[in-house]
């Protein structure tokens, strides 16, 4: 097994930066599809943290958890995009600030 000569903190700082970018996307964009993509960026940054700690501690379970996270993300994308389609059919928009059915 070859040596990885990059410090662990580099990977962790990179995943923190990616999580930050995803959080900015979720909080500032109003297009439901772009909010979905930002959530995918955040999930991916968490996966990167999982993998770097798993390799650092010499553990296989971290990779299996990432596999489960990917399966959950696939289910979430299918359900979420179906909700966006139903919403578009109902309101003719994908902007989340024009959907205020539950607001009173």
């Amino acid at each position: 097994m070859n040596l990885i000569n990059i410090p662990l903190e580099f990977y962790l700082a990179l995943s923190a930066i990616l999580f930050l970018i995803g959080a900015i996307g979720v909080l500032t964009r109003r297009n439901a599809l772009i909010i979905f993509m930002s959530i995918e960026i955040m999930l991916n940054s968490v996966n990167l943290t999982f993998i770097s700690f798993a390799i650092y501690f010499g553990d296989t379970i971290g990779q299996i958890l990432v596999f489960f996270v990917m399966a959950i993300a696939a289910a979430e994308a299918a359900i979420g995009l179906a909700i966006v389609l139903a919403l578009y059919r109902l309101k003719q928009t994908v902007f989340v600030d024009e959907v205020n059915l539950l607001k009173w």
């Binding site: 097994m1 000569n5 599809l33 010499g58 179906a82 389609l85």
Partner: protein
């Protein structure tokens, strides 16, 4: 400056740049294409960590399945340019950027000050990153969870079909 450093720097700069393009471009299809680039860069980063199984799954599941779904929905809805980006860049957006900046700076600060035993990855003499090792653990210790994931995906497919149907039952 070794080759690993070069690849890590290149991949991380491209990953951050494509993530910024994803959240800032006006047209959703441009965001989707930048997100595909982002997923490929993360697969490369997993390869620098010797996690080959996760890298292949990243390309197959994210860049393959999920992005096809997203692009399909964007084309189905025929979305145009998003004018609301420059129309109202206001207090709401500023507050969002500041709040997530606080979260991100906290994360970066706690990660930098982690102080592990050694910053560098230790050398293990047991093969634990190969597909063989991952598969062995997945199908012995995690078999119940694996079957549960299968049931969850079936439920998600049925739910997506029901939600997207024109008339509910």
């Amino acid at each position: 400056m070794s080759l690993t450093y070069f690849f890590f720097t290149l991949l991380s700069i491209l990953a951050i740049a494509s993530a910024i393009i994803t959240i800032s471009s006006k047209h959703p299809i441009r965001s989707a294409m930048a997100l595909v680039v982002h997923f490929f860069m993360l697969a490369g980063l997993y390869l620098t960590l010797n996690a080959q199984f996760v890298a292949v799954m990243q390309v197959l599941v994210y860049a393959g399945a999920i992005m096809v779904l997203v692009v399909f929905v964007i084309m189905l809805l025929n979305l145009g340019n998003d004018d609301s980006l420059e129309k109202k860049l206001q207090v709401k957006h500023f507050a969002g950027i500041v709040l997530s900046g606080v979260i991100g700076l906290t994360l970066i600060h706690s990660f930098i000050n982690l102080n592990p035993h050694s910053s560098y990855f230790p050398t293990y003499f047991v093969e634990f990153t190969t597909v063989q090792a991952v598969g062995k653990t997945l199908f012995t210790n995690f078999i119940v969870q694996f079957e549960a994931i299968g049931m969850l995906l079936t439920a998600a497919i049925i739910g997506a079909v029901l939600l997207a149907k024109r008339k509910l039952l």
